[in-house]
């Protein structure tokens, strides 16, 4: 079995799966249960001067019956006394010396940073995470994302921390920014040992239309919250990859945002994460999800012949290129498998109205005849007319693809409800690869 243990800028962890700083990592009792379930590490719920929370504080969106596709919150940092938190941190480290315990911090003045770092180290923390990401509440008080959005401030505070800290320091970044490289490079300049991202995205979850109050509702009012969960994964992966590709960054990354299974985790790792952190999926399904994250990832590594998770880190980065480097001669076309097609015709309507009008209903006349599923001719060429409902015996609802017109956009494959029914087939191009940059270089563009 592949070795799942990782070393994240000096922090040892039995596996790359960490709880993100959030409600699942609120107390020592929870974190110990999570470790028992298999989590390799936890970033403690952000500590600072304790605050008062509002009620209610969470919102979520469902999509066509799928619950919690996206999640949002307006809660602040820990609402429990610091003494209690530090006592519990010490207890967890005593009982679980091999697991990674990272303490997330958010305070204001240099003195406060010095004190809280000392207390964290005294409690036995393996590392620190600086919360420069919270986009609601705390930022109104000059902390959280208001730091993360100002590279100069971020760099300054990071360098204060580095002055005092004797353990690795991760800077947690906010995605509420124009270019993630700005705060990422600032953290590196400030001396950070690693980066964590993303924190949540500014969001409004909905509106109570009877009361005319946005959601989640606190009495007769609401405010913007932080968005997370499966819906933010693509945004997070882009930011992780952008930093992993950047030559000025070069420090380990802890990937966060919408991770809920081993595959999500493997994708983040392939894009340059050394560890991954999870919040929403645990809030939805509990600590137990880590079991298959561990099993699925090791299974995957074994299948790929990788002996450790370290070998997967950043594996997809070399293939992440600029648009101008992509091969303009590469072409795929859609192919519908009549055996598995259930005749919903969603591909048809998507292609007609949302793409390039090249999927046709079986009952449509076609000006070409070629007898089989392979429609090698355009409907606009002059061939004898043929109706397609005779094709695919007894399955008159199977649409057909006019392959000359298909641009290979993927839309039909994406909307098809039957996994594997529509596939994108590669078409050989004798011309060989040529990118936009090649064309510019040849003076053709």
């Amino acid at each position: 079995m592949a070795d799942l243990s990782v070393n994240m800028c000096g922090i040892q962890s039995p596996n790359p799966f960490w709880l993100a700083s959030a409600p699942p990592a609120n107390t020592g009792e929870q974190i110990m249960r999570a470790f028992d379930a298999g989590w390799g590490g936890a970033v403690w719920k952000t500590l600072g001067t304790p605050i008062v929370n509002v009620s209610s504080r969470f919102g979520s969106i469902d999509y066509d019956g799928a619950k919690v596709v996206g999640f949002n919150n307006i809660e602040l940092i820990t609402d429990r006394p610091l003494d209690v938190n530090f006592k519990e941190i010490a207890e967890v480290k005593k009982r679980y010396p091999k697991h990674a315990v990272i303490v997330s911090l958010m305070v204001e003045t240099k003195e406060e940073w010095r004190d809280i770092i000392k207390r964290s180290e005294d409690a036995g923390a393996d590392g620190l995470e600086l919360n420069f990401g919270c986009p609601h509440g705390m930022c109104e008080r000059g902390m959280g994302s208001s730091v993360g959005q100002e590279p100069a401030v971020l760099e300054r505070i990071t360098s204060w921390v580095m002055e005092y800290a004797n353990i690795p320091v991760l800077v947690k970044l906010t995605p509420n920014i124009g270019d993630i490289l700005d705060p990422g490079r600032a953290a590196v300049r400030g001396g950070a040992s690693g980066l964590s991202l993303i924190n949540t995205i500014k969001s409004v979850m909905g509106v109570d239309l009877d009361r005319m109050v946005p959601l989640p509702r606190v009495g007769d009012a609401s405010t913007n919250g932080g968005y997370c969960g499966p819906a933010v994964k693509p945004i997070a992966m882009h930011m992780v990859a952008a930093l992993a590709r950047d030559k000025e960054v070069g420090i380990p990354i802890s990937g966060i945002g919408g991770i809920s299974n081993w595959r999500d985790a493997a994708e983040f790792i392939a894009l340059g994460s050394t560890t991954v952190q999870v919040c929403t999926a645990v809030m939805h399904h509990g600590y137990r999800i880590v079991e298959d994250m561990i099993d699925g990832l090791s299974q995957f590594l074994d299948e790929k012949g990788m002996t450790s998770v370290e070998q997967l880190i950043g594996h997809a980065i070399p293939n992440y290129k600029e648009w101008g480097q992509l091969d303009l001669n590469y072409r795929v076309i859609a192919e519908i498998n009549p055996e598995t097609c259930i005749g919903c015709q969603l591909c048809y309507v998507a292609c007609q109205d949302g793409a390039h009008q090249c999927i046709h209903l079986a009952s449509t006349d076609c000006d070409a005849y070629h007898g089989v599923h392979d429609h090698a001719q355009s409907v606009r060429t002059k061939w004898p007319s043929v109706r397609h409902d005779e094709l695919h015996d007894g399955k008159p609802r199977v649409p057909w693809v006019d392959i000359d017109e298909c641009v290979g956009c993927n839309l039909c494959e994406l909307v098809c409800p039957v996994p594997g029914c529509i596939t994108m087939k590669e078409i050989a191009n004798p011309a060989g690869p040529e990118s936009w940059n090649d064309r510019v270089a040849k003076g053709l563009a």
């Binding site: 081993w262 509990g286 298959d292 699925g296 299974q299 074994d302 598995t340 409800p417 039957v418 996994p419």
Partner: protein, 433 residues
């Protein structure tokens, strides 16, 4: 393979699967419906306690070997259970969707998909889902190669114990091979599963019967422990006149002919069949005959439908193939003319009547095989081997499980019993499972 190949002209081969193998697309769509309940009721309804939502999520996340392992690690007969378990009254019957007026998750078919894909993975990758620990010198003899012994032997072998099964019949698998309805599981599928279990280092001695070829003291001399997975005995008879006539069958004997016998056929002159009994075996044989013949199949039961021990869902399926139920009818005699069955005389509330038929099938239970052997263990008043919660009998080195201790339940119970006995033996030797 340590048995001769099955005949290729078995009547069972004509049956269509009731729970066919899902395609990947079907499995994914179904798997994604599961709510992943906490402390899920489906798990509690499974005698082997398979972590059902977990394996379903593993299917959804494309970890098929993982899904198979989740199932098989607690139930080495997970593949046949997927096909034979009466899920309607077990896991599926307890799925929370039943309370939402929503179709419950099709757990049996998902389990079949997972185990099938898991074994396929073993063949294509060359990796095993489970590997046996090195031999630790312990030896166990298991009597009968049915689900109970197979499960027990598998867990023993994985723990490094030498497990030797002695089976009276030429074919292993017990009732999975000879008795379960062919629209659920066919003999070749059962034998594939047996072979998979043997591949973990279990030894099989076919055609070797306890009480005929060796006795209990021989085993106790040679082995550290003995496991009894004897199942039940031959079909019970009513003890009414005419029973010796050709055309009067015991239900399990007839099912075995359908499942295993070369070229077995129901003769064309059989136009009506009377099945005596209303348990699951009676419903099974009625359903099977109704599917393969055009004969009128009547189940004859001495009490009323609400007293039936057979499952309501199975009876409903049987009715769909035109099986009918004659209630409150007590068989008195088999009518015979010129050496052939012509009818079944019954006492109805309204008086005596002869139900015309050319075959009579007696499905009124099976004998308690344990009463016919010298086992050196205590039996209860119903002829079942007495055991404690870990399957230990009154003898400190003899364990037992499956139908011979419970009087006839399901494959999954036998699988659970076998596992528990294996774990209890290992524990008694200070070994780990």
């Amino acid at each position: 393979m340590s048995w001769s190949p099955l005949p290729t002209d078995r009547l069972e081969q004509g049956f269509k699967d009731k729970r066919p193998l899902y395609t990947r697309a079907e499995a994914l769509v179904e798997a994604n419906r599961c709510l992943y309940c906490h402390d899920a009721p489906c798990i509690k309804a499974c005698a082997t306690g398979i972590d059902i939502p977990h394996f379903i999520k593993q299917i959804a996340h494309d970890n098929l070997p993982g899904a198979a392992k989740t199932i098989l690690s607690v139930n080495m007969l997970g593949a046949s259970c997927a096909q034979v378990c009466p899920v309607e009254v077990m896991c599926v019957g307890d799925c929370v969707f039943n309370d939402l007026n929503e179709t419950p998750i099709n757990i049996g078919r998902l389990q079949r998909y997972a185990t099938t894909e898991g074994l396929k993975y073993e063949n294509t990758s060359g990796r095993r889902l489970f590997t046996a620990k090195p031999a630790n010198g312990k030896k166990v003899a298991l009597i009968g190669a049915g689900p109970a012994s197979l499960a027990c032997a598998a867990y023993l072998a994985l723990a490094g114990v030498k497990a030797s099964i002695f089976e009276r019949d030429p074919l292993p698998g017990g009732l999975n091979t000879t008795g379960v309805a062919p629209y659920k599981l066919k003999a070749d599928e059962s034998l594939d599963e047996v072979q998979w279990i043997l591949d973990h280092g279990v030894e099989l001695h076919g055609g070797k019967a306890l009480g005929r070829d060796f006795n209990m003291s021989d085993l106790l001399d040679e082995y550290d422990a003995v496991f009894l997975g004897l199942g039940l005995g031959a079909d019970h008879h009513l003890g009414i006149p005419g029973e010796q006539t050709p055309g009067v069958w015991g239900a399990t004997a007839l099912i075995r002919a359908i499942k295993n016998e070369a070229g077995f056929k129901v003769p064309a002159e059989i136009k009506q069949v009377a099945i005596v009994g209303a348990g699951n075996t009676a419903i099974d044989i009625a359903h099977e005959l109704a599917e393969i013949t055009s004969a009128q199949i009547s189940m004859v039961y001495r009490r009323s439908e609400s007293d039936m021990s057979g499952y309501a869902h199975e009876m409903a399926h049987a009715r769909q193939v035109d099986v009918r139920l004659v209630e409150n009818a007590r068989p008195l005699a088999i009518e015979v003319s010129a050496g052939k069955v012509t009818g079944l005389r019954v006492a109805l509330r309204s008086g005596e009547e002869v139900l015309p038929c050319q075959w009579v099938v007696q499905a009124i239970g099976q004998e308690r095989i344990a009463t016919q052997l010298d086992l050196s263990v205590d039996l209860d008043e119903k002829g079942r081997v007495k055991v404690n919660e870990f399957g230990l009998t009154s003898h400190d080195r003899i364990y037992a499980g499956g139908d011979c201790i419970n009087g006839g339940k399901e494959v999954v119970n036998a699988a659970a019993d076998g596992r528990e006995s294996a774990f209890a033996m290992l524990k008694s030797w200070g070994l780990e499972a």
